[in-house]
Structures are given as structure tokens and as C-alpha cells.
């Protein structure tokens, strides 16, 4: 187990390094010049050169990369090329919206998908099971954007129960307001994620239901529900946990759409704005953080799998 964790950690570090190189290099390849953006259209060549020099853009790429990486490792993601604010500080600020948004909708998606998925598997031949399956298919097929608009129409426009968009200026200092403005975004994001999860929970449960050890457990005196609880869920959790790891990446992407839709001041809408502004330093900092989160979740999933499945535990790889 220790060998595995160490190995997996090395892999994590290597992938993070590769990700940083890629992020850095790809953004240099993009057309567009930060100096031109800052200098404006009236700037002459000398002024542009001065700006480039100030930003360090005239140094060799490798050198630029090394400086950047050293800063990143010390927790400094650089400063915005547009207004000079600290990227780290701003990301930290935005994470206070995006973090609760993503984690909340993940929790919501799980809370719906696990019981419904198990039920759909148990009743897979009846109307209940077919109904749940069909509903989840629809949930997958519907675009997040459209679901969000629908929810806004029903709960914010017609009912006026919840805010249609925005987030309190005071942020979490106003917890009631903040929570209320997150309700619709949570549901929007959770519906599309939950629908995908549900299908995996269902198929994993169906798989386990066909296993001999469930029948045997019943012959040993467990009830149907008891056998499923004690043996089924643990064995079905493996594939579901794997998918959950992948879904976290999808959730981050979904957050971009949902934040835009509900005008939430989160990391997702910030990223979109920064790409539009060609604010390279900010974009590369943000992309790196997102990639790091996804890689870290992958690491946690792999280690978690070992912990719950003894068959994987002893083997080294």
C-alpha cells in the first residue's frame, strides 16, 4: 500500500509538472499580445517594448517559465497584466463562491443519484425502474444552460421565491442571502451531474445484484435489503467512486456555465473574462489550479479505491 501511494504521488508530481509546462507553452502560442492590450492602440513601438520589458515578456521562454514556476511553488500565481491585482488573492476570493457551488451540487447529486440508482436497479424490470432510467436519460440530454433557464423561469420569475441571479456583495457575511442565491445554481449543476451518476450507480448495483455472494448472504439469513446494504453497496462503490473522480472535472466545467448563467462572481466566470482579456498571467494561474485540482482528485480516488478494495491493496501497481 505504501509503495503504491509513493508511486502514485510521484506520478502526481510528474503530471503536475507536465501540466504546468503545457499550460505555460500553450498560452504563449495563442495569438494576441498582452503588451498591445495594455498599451492600447495608440502605443508606439518603443512604448510596447517598455511594457514587454516590464512584464518580462522579452526574456527567453525558458527563463520566463522558470521564474513563473518558482513563484507558483511559493504560492504566488503572479499579478494580473491588466490591473495588477494578485491572482492568488483573487482566486482565493472567487473560490469562496465556486467551492461551495461545486461541493454543494456534488453532495446534492450524490444524495439523489445513489438512492434512485439503487432503486432503479432493484426495480429494473418494473415501471419505477424504467421511469427513473428514462428520467436520467432526459437529464443527461438536456443542456445545463436550458435547465438553468427553466428553473429561473419557474422559481424566480413566476414564483419569485429565489433570486434569478447574482450573489450578495457582502458575500458570506450575509449567509442567508448567499445560500438563497446558490440554490438554483446548485440544482442546475446537480441535475446534469446527478443524471450521469445515477446511471453508473444503477449499472454498478445491477452488476452486484447478479453476484453469487448476494444470494449466499440471503441463504445465510440476511434479508434482501440487509444483503444489499452489507455486501452490495460496498462492492458497487468501486466503479461509482471512479466515475465520481471524473465527474469532478465535469463539475468544474459546468461551474463555468452556471456561474455565467446566474451571474455568480466565481472562478469560472473570472476565467472566461480573463481569456477574453488575454490576461495571460491570470489565465495560466487559473488553468493550473483547475488542472491541479483534477489531478489531486484523481490521486485521492486511486488511493481511495485501494482502501475499499482489498483485492487491489496487496498488488504493487
Amino acid at each position: 500500500m505504501t509503495v503504491f501511494v509513493v508511486r502514485r504521488l510521484v506520478l502526481l508530481v510528474v503530471s503536475l509538472f507536465a501540466a504546468s509546462v503545457l499550460t505555460f507553452a500553450l498560452l504563449r502560442l495563442l495569438p494576441g499580445d498582452a503588451a498591445a492590450a495594455i498599451g492600447g492602440i495608440t502605443a508606439d513601438e518603443a512604448q510596447l517594448r517598455a511594457v514587454r520589458h516590464e512584464l518580462g515578456l522579452d526574456r527567453p521562454l525558458v527563463q520566463q517559465y522558470a521564474t513563473w514556476l518558482a513563484d507558483v511553488l511559493s504560492g504566488d500565481l503572479g499579478r494580473s497584466q491588466l490591473n495588477g491585482t494578485s491572482v492568488t488573492a483573487e482566486l482565493g476570493e472567487k473560490a469562496r463562491v465556486t467551492g461551495p457551488l461545486v461541493l454543494g451540487s456534488l453532495a446534492l447529486a450524490l444524495a439523489g443519484a445513489v438512492p434512485l440508482g439503487v432503486l432503479a436497479a432493484l426495480r429494473h424490470r418494473s415501471r419505477v425502474g424504467t421511469g427513473i432510467s428514462a428520467a436520467s436519460q432526459i437529464g443527461i440530454a438536456l443542456p445545463t444552460l436550458w435547465v438553468g433557464l427553466l428553473l429561473v423561469t419557474v422559481f424566480a420569475v413566476q414564483n419569485r421565491r429565489l433570486p434569478a441571479q447574482g450573489f450578495p456583495v457582502e458575500g458570506w457575511a450575509e449567509p442567508g442571502q448567499a445560500l438563497r442565491s446558490l440554490v438554483l445554481p446548485w440544482i442546475t449543476l446537480a441535475l446534469s451531474e446527478g443524471a450521469v451518476l445515477l446511471r453508473f450507480v444503477r449499472s454498478a448495483t445491477l452488476d452486484v445484484l447478479g453476484q453469487d455472494f448476494l444470494r449466499t448472504a440471503r441463504a445465510n439469513g440476511r434479508t434482501r435489503a440487509g444483503a444489499l446494504w452489507r455486501h452490495g453497496l460496498r462492492n458497487a462503490s468501486g466503479p461509482v467512486v471512479s466515475v465520481l473522480g471524473i465527474q469532478v472535472a465535469a463539475l468544474l466545467v459546468g461551474a463555468v456555465v452556471v456561474e455565467k448563467l446566474f451571474a455568480l462572481p466565481g472562478a469560472g466566470s473570472m476565467l472566461v473574462a480573463d481569456v477574453g482579456n488575454r490576461d495571460l498571467v491570470k489565465v495560466q494561474g487559473e488553468v493550473l489550479v483547475v488542472v491541479a485540482i483534477v489531478l489531486a482528485v484523481g490521486f485521492a480516488v486511486d488511493v481511495g479505491q485501494r482502501l475499499i478494495d482489498p483485492r487491489l491493496r496487496e498488488t504493487g501497481r
Binding site: 455472494f213 448472504a217 441463504a219 440476511r222 434482501r224 455486501h231 475499499i308 482489498p310
Partner: protein
């Protein structure tokens, strides 16, 4: 039932032996198959069409038949895992599962335990051997055993692991995937023995094992049933296995009892053509010193 299937066993049993431990009367079970045509009703499959059987205390019954003959369905009904469409399963004269309350079968499961076909598939891969063997003890604890508590349970686990020839101290904390097929089947047998049953129902207990370990597991089963006075219902398509372990044989064909009687008689001089075919299709019995001589005169 046709003439060839008439059973002398029922009468002789009442004379010589006590009341039957497990009996089944007129078991029928029909399954609905997936629809083939949209507008036609789903086809059905009659897995059992009226099966009677009886096992006496300490007795042993082998159920043989081809794939699809209804063996697995019969096992599920005998174990109270499924309900018959018609007919009854009785244990010590009391009905099993007929009422449709499978939860209330603890009294039955304490005395009737199951040895599955595929030992790996039937052992939860995420549980240690100790917990696997403890499961029936936990589920079936009654007033008398609950008093023993955890210590008593641990003692019982070691006892049954020892009884099946495993080193309890060594295997207790290990997982199923660390064992060989034969060892896994020993674990499954230990689990079945844990609640001190009076009857074991074994579904093809050695068909998933290497030929080399089959004999060991069969010997173990024979020794255990003899030593503990257990009754045995054994399902197999291997007549050699049945002959080794069972006094009585029931031949199942298309959900009906084709022939039934003492193993000796049925296997030496089968009355039904179907049984003769089954016997003839047993490959390389001559290589098996136990069963070879008896098969000679059947053709």
C-alpha cells in the same frame, strides 16, 4: 408421473426412518422471459412442473439433470430464496417461505445451510474470512447463541475453520482472493457449518474446482456429513459425484422428476431412457476408481 418414476422410497422411508427433514410437494415455478415481439405477451418458461422430494434426517439426496432441467430453480425454492407458484417446501413439517415473508425464515436457515457452486463468487471480496464465516452467526443469532457474545462467536469460527482443515489463526484475517479454489470452497463450507445446521444444500460444490482438488473437497463433505450426522442435498450434473456422496438420486428432466430411488439402483439399472443417456454421457469414468466398476453393466 409416468410409470418409470414411481417411487418405492416414500413407503420404505416411513417404515424404517423418522419423519422427513425436508420435503417438497408438487413444486411448480414459471419464469417470464423477456418479450420477443412487441405486441405478443412475454413468453414463459416452466422451470419446474410439479416436483416432489424428501430428505430424511442424516440422509443424502443427489439431484441430477442437464443444464436447464430446473436444478437451480429447485435449489432456490428449497432454500427459501424464491417462492413456488404452486406446491410447498416443508422443513420438519413446517412450511418454508410459502407465506411470502422471507424475513421470518431464521428458524429454517439455522438448520439448513448452503454450499454454493462458485466459491469465489459467493464470498464477498471485501470481507475477511473471519467476517465471512461470522455472517450466518450474526444473522441467525438466537437467544441461546447470543449469550455467547463475541468470544463465543470467535471460538465457533475457529472451530469450523479447523473442521474444514484450515489453519484458523492463519486464515482468519485474510481475504478470499488470497486463497486457491479448493481453500475457498473450504471457507464456504465452514461458513455453512457455523450455525450448526442439520442439512446442507450444495449446488455443484466441486464443478468450479480443478480436478485435482475435487476429490479432497468431496472427501471433506463426506466426512463432515458422516461425522456430524448432517443431511445433504447435492445438485450436480456429475453422476460420479452423486454416487460418491448420495444414498438417493433424483433425476430431473424439463422440470419433472424423471426417476428417483436409491443411488445404487438408479445408477446401476436406470429405468428411464433419459437416465441411461445421462450415464452414457459421463466421460472417462473408467479413470475414476470409485465409480468405474458400477457403470459397467448399465448399457
Amino acid at each position: 408421473m409416468n410409470e418409470t418414476a414411481s417411487l418405492p422410497t416414500a413407503e420404505t422411508a416411513t417404515e424404517t426412518a423418522p419423519e422427513p427433514l425436508l420435503s417438497a410437494r408438487g413444486l411448480r415455478r414459471t419464469y417470464r422471459l423477456p418479450r420477443r415481439r412487441l405486441l405478443r405477451p412475454a413468453p414463459v418458461r416452466q422451470a419446474l412442473r410439479g416436483v416432489d422430494l424428501e430428505v430424511r434426517e442424516g440422509g443424502s439426496l443427489g439431484i441430477v439433470g442437464e443444464s436447464g432441467a430446473g436444478k437451480s430453480t429447485l435449489i432456490r425454492l428449497l432454500l427459501g430464496l424464491d417462492r413456488a407458484d404452486a406446491g410447498q417446501v416443508l422443513y420438519r413439517g413446517r412450511e418454508v417461505a410459502g407465506g411470502g415473508r422471507p424475513r421470518d425464515l431464521a428458524w429454517f436457515r439455522r438448520e439448513v445451510q448452503f454450499v454454493p457452486q462458485d466459491p469465489l463468487g459467493s464470498l464477498d471480496p471485501r470481507m475477511r474470512v473471519r467476517d465471512i464465516v461470522a455472517e450466518p452467526l450474526e444473522c441467525l443469532a438466537d437467544a441461546s447463541t447470543a449469550a455467547d457474545g463475541k468470544a463465543g462467536r470467535d471460538r465457533r469460527i475457529d472451530e469450523v475453520l479447523h473442521a474444514v482443515g484450515l489453519d484458523a489463526a492463519d486464515v482468519r484475517r485474510r481475504y478470499p482472493h488470497e486463497f486457491s479454489g479448493g481453500q475457498r470452497q473450504r471457507i464456504a463450507i465452514a461458513r455453512a457449518l457455523a450455525p450448526r445446521p442439520r442439512l446442507l444444500i450444495a449446488d455443484e460444490p466441486v464443478s468450479a474446482l480443478d480436478v485435482s482438488v475435487r476429490v479432497q473437497v468431496l472427501d471433506l463433505l463426506r466426512d463432515l456429513t458422516a461425522r456430524l450426522g448432517l443431511a445433504l442435498v447435492l445438485v450436480s450434473h456429475d453422476l460420479g459425484v452423486v454416487q460418491l456422496l448420495c444414498e438417493e438420486v433424483l433425476v430431473l428432466k424439463d422440470g419433472r422428476v424423471e426417476e428417483q430411488g436409491p443411488a445404487e439402483a438408479v445408477l446401476r439399472a436406470p429405468r428411464s431412457g433419459y437416465t441411461r443417456e445421462l450415464l452414457a454421457s459421463v466421460p472417462s469414468l473408467a479413470a475414476d476408481p470409485v465409480s468405474a466398476p458400477r457403470y459397467g453393466p448399465t448399457r
